[in-house]
Symmetry: C2
Subunit: 280 residues, 2 copies
């Protein structure tokens, strides 16, 4: 897909990486970076992630045929409505939020003005944040979930899918609720456990932290407010995943309390089978 | 420290890495690899980790002034006693086991023959196992805990410390029980949580597994029987660490159930502070 003007709202790790990928692959003639913080916009502009920057949404989206909202999940629905009020009538609006249910429900009542919204979640990123960590290959080989809302036509959903594919991503179509259930298990619960494990450590013992602790707790270094919003928005599914995890953890505990080597082997083997089925 | 003959019992990741480090740093004239499996011994010999190999403990340790027992924790005390029966009277025996309490208690009653035992635990390694993953720089910058038993003189403990330092490791001296408490928290609990998280995942959802899930569950790919032994040997401390973790996890749960953003931020920030204090 070849685009004329793309606007990116929020030029952090994800927004900046989208800009870099679009420009390095020559997929858009102009990429406009929109944000509130001049210093972040400057970093994005200087890195080549965007062609020009502005703090004015109206001015930034005026010519855009595609607008990607890359702000923290708690603000996405509001930002989509702000965009809708000032964008072209035929604009396509998507996002990169880690939750989809609340956003899609908030927008299902209808947009305030022009444009059509189709939700997206690229499962890329890291514990790092900010435009200085943007990477043009961030989406290469990653999976992006696209959530088809009833208000968007098949043609518009397919355009969003094609956009992510052009950045190197594989695309999966899911309902917002199915997405939120699955990422609670595969992304949000791991974050919560990494944070709890790191929080439970006695700082004096951290001199012994080697690769195992580092890997298992790496997500805990992530942006606190960003993850507070993600966990809050998806708390119903995260609590369900936590219940499911708690049942497995209880089995480990019982196997240790009962000194049951066969059960411990069975549980460790179950974890290993799932882990071995995924890339390192 | 410059050695004439060192014998390594068990030439897996740790034993093979010790051999490679000794030989590449020219710290020993002869390194003998001792094991039960001819194919693994062959890999160690061909990689240059050992000068010669044998399946006969008596023959392997006959000339050794230092013997490092690198077998799984459940076998270490027995292997040290086997070595003691056939080694030089002045030999120094150490190990690389991830638990220390049971091993040191079993050996505190006295060795069956010659030699002196000082326990060690290099906090290196990965989810990989086997001599093919051996790395001469595995101990570079890692911490090795040396547990001073009452039966070993200060001079002998200092020799073991000097040995690990010569491989590039920093050394910490701890009691076996203090070691087991601390590694339960920093190494064994993370392994258990990684395994439980991986075991709790629905295989159908693993298509969404990205870097976060991969990092958090990486330890679950480790050798099942090796980790069964570690968790079993140290189960008392692991259960205590699990209790402590459970209390923190309950706070996360309550913050989600009560939709309490301030408390969620506090907990995430606590985890981030600990995580940020350790290298990535």
């Amino acid at each position: 897909m070849k685009l004329d003007t793309v606007a990116i709202i929020g030029v952090g790790l994800i927004g900046g990486s989208i800009g870099l990928a679009l420009r390095q692959r020559a997929l858009a003639r102009t990429v406009v970076g929109i944000g509130r913080t001049a210093s972040r916009l400057r970093v994005a502009e200087e890195s080549g992630a965007v062609s020009r920057v502005t703090t004015d949404v109206r001015q930034g989206v005026a010519d855009a045929e595609l607008i990607v909202v890359c702000t923290p999940v708690g603000h996405i629905a509001d930002h989509v409505q702000q965009v809708s009020r000032v964008c072209r009538a035929d604009a396509l609006i998507t996002d990169a939020g880690s939750t989809k249910g609340e956003i899609c429900r908030a927008l299902a009542v209808g947009l305030a003005g022009g444009g059509v919204f189709v939700g997206s979640h690229p499962l890329a990123g890291s514990e790092k944040s900010g435009p200085e960590f943007a990477d043009p290959n961030l989406f290469e080989g990653c999976v992006t979930v696209v959530t088809a809302a009833e208000t968007a036509s098949e043609r518009r959903v397919a355009q969003v899918e094609s956009f992510w594919q052009s950045l190197g991503s594989r695309v999966l179509r899911m309902s917002p609720d199915e997405h939120d259930r699955a990422v609670a298990e595969i992304s949000h619960l791991p974050h919560l456990l990494a944070s709890a494990l790191a929080a439970a450590a006695d700082p004096q013992d951290l001199i012994l932290a080697a690769r195992g602790w580092q890997d298992t707790t790496r997500l805990a270094a992530g942006d606190v407010e960003l993850w507070r919003q993600i966990l809050s928005e998806n708390r119903r599914h995260v609590l369900q995943s936590l219940d499911k995890f708690g049942k497995v953890l209880s089995k480990f505990r019982q196997a240790l309390e009962g000194n049951d080597p066969a059960e411990l082997v069975r549980l460790l083997q179950l974890g290993k089978s799932n882990r071995d089925s995924v890339a390192s």
